[in-house]
Amino acid sequence: MNHLPEAWGRPRDDVYGAYDHSHLRPSMPNQHTQEPIVTGTSVVALKYNGGVVIAADNLASYGSLARFSNMERLKQVGTHTVVGASGDISDMQYLFDTALEDLVIKEEYQNDGHHLRAKHVYSYLSRVMYHRRNKFDPLWNVLLVAGWDDGKPFLASTDLLGTTFSAPALASGFGASLAVPLLRRVCPDEESVAKISRERAIEAVEECMKVLFYRDARSTNKYTMAIVSGEDNKVDIEWKKDVELQKQSWKFAEEIRGYGAQIV
């Protein structure tokens, strides 16, 4: 008889051999996220004299496979803000459906006539991102926060490291290399925002979505756009959903080796 209680009711060592504890204990250290799995590509955004235009395509890729073609990656938070996410889709869904929903509901408890503005949402998100990076368990996203704040257009980004950055023209992912140079032609600095009309901004962002579709192999031709405007001190968010790219021209492809018809 074994007098140790933890051995009671277990197969006897002298009959069945000692219990192999390695079945219970993992042989590897606990691993956090090492890479994103299902991903979304660029988010593009540009300020104009009465607000911000932000857009992201509707594709969620599984590696190089175009896995989900109707994944919206923009979310309205409260009345003043739209957040766009690139990177891991499940992390995005946690942020959009759980964290931000919770934030907005708890803000409504106060019922004091105040609402979260873009700056507050951005501050919250960047703190969450930095906190998770410090736990070595980052949320694998780049987030763009667009909105209307204190009588001015607001646009800023944060990423999986919790880095914060703001500029009148921003893009994440592939767009950081391809779209930002195009947007900076329209809007080189903060001063030039005042000269950009709503139509011009929409046109510039549409153009970027088109160029990104030409050159980014993880992108698609269907996208979602939101325009946050604050004209006459009234904040309004206009949504354009399931927009298809217009007037594509693949002429440029002919001259590129390995892109379209081969030229030796």
């Binding site: 759980t98 509901i105 708890k106 409504e108 408890y109 019922n111």
Partner: protein
């Protein structure tokens, strides 16, 4: 109360020989001294209203709210001890929030009322606590049941209602609620009736010389969030709890006062003739 001094009221959860729990009954008394709260379950939403007595002229108008938002689609109006009501709503918020975390959706109002009933009842069982000195009216609109209205009492009992009233003016308020065709009312009509009923309940009571503020909220479904409209016009979907717009409340109060004056004049004529 005849049984005072018999010793069966000294500790919570102790029965008297004739099967009563005095601590719970005393808690109910505390509610009966509080300002009136009412709730109306209309076909396309729910209206909550309270008579908030002004304790001091130094208070900022609109402060010390007695109707709280629990989740997007649920509000709670309370009569009785305000700090107890605060704790009750705080617990309700936790329940609603944990439901969202677990099930990724809004809590049905019936489930919330059920959980709050269980919680309240637990406070009648132990000698280390006292029962809640509040009766809470829980109103909301969800996808499954549409508009629904529940009232949880200090004993932990909770029932669903078309019209609910509690607090010191509850008798007059209940009498008025019973006259209404609540299942076929719209929230806009409900708001007018609610204002009138609170004014009647106020005039009917000992505290009638004191000023009061009318606090009123509603839960309605935004057009974009309607899931179903039944044959009888019941709207189901994700409701939104918010304050009734100021203009509407003011208009409803004007009409309520006018209706009361007319009633008074008629009473006087009756007496004269």
């Amino acid at each position: 109360m005849t049984s005072i001094g018999t010793g069966y009221d000294l500790s919570n959860s102790v029965f008297s020989p004739d099967g009563r729990n005095f601590q719970v009954e005393y808690a109910t008394k505390a509610v009966e001294n509080g300002g009136t709260s009412i709730g109306l379950r209309c076909k396309d939403g729910v209206v909550l209203a309270v008579e908030k007595l002004i304790q001091s002229k130094l208070l900022v108008p609109g402060s010390n709210k007695r109707i709280a938002t629990v989740d997007r689609h649920v509000g709670i109006a309370a009569s009785g001890l305000i700090p107890d009501a605060r704790h009750f709503t705080s617990r309700a918020r936790n329940e609603a929030s944990s439901w969202r975390k677990q099930y990724h959706g809004a809590i049905p109002v019936s489930s919330l009322a059920d959980r709050m009933g269980q919680y309240t009842q637990a406070y009648t069982l132990y000698s280390s606590v006292r029962p809640f000195g509040v009766t809470c009216i829980i109103g909301g609109v969800d996808e499954e049941a549409g508009p629904s209205l529940w009232m949880v009492e200090p004993s932990g009992v909770g029932w669903g209602y078309f019209g609910a009233a509690t607090g010191r003016g509850r008798q007059a308020a209940k009498a008025e609620l019973e006259k209404l065709d609540l299942p076929n009312l719209t929230v806009e009509e409900g708001v007018k009736h609610a204002a009138r009923i609170i004014h009647i309940a106020h005039g009917d009571n000992a505290g009638k010389d004191k000023d009061f503020e009318l606090e009123m909220t509603w839960v309605r479904v935004d057009k974009a969030n309607v899931v179903e409209v039944t044959e009888s016009g019941v709207v189901k979907g994700h409701g939104r709890h918010e304050e009734v717009p100021k203009e509407l409340v003011e208009e409803a109060e004007r009409e309520a006062k006018k209706a009361l004056e007319v009633e008074d004049e008629e009473d006087e004529k009756m007496e004269e003739s």
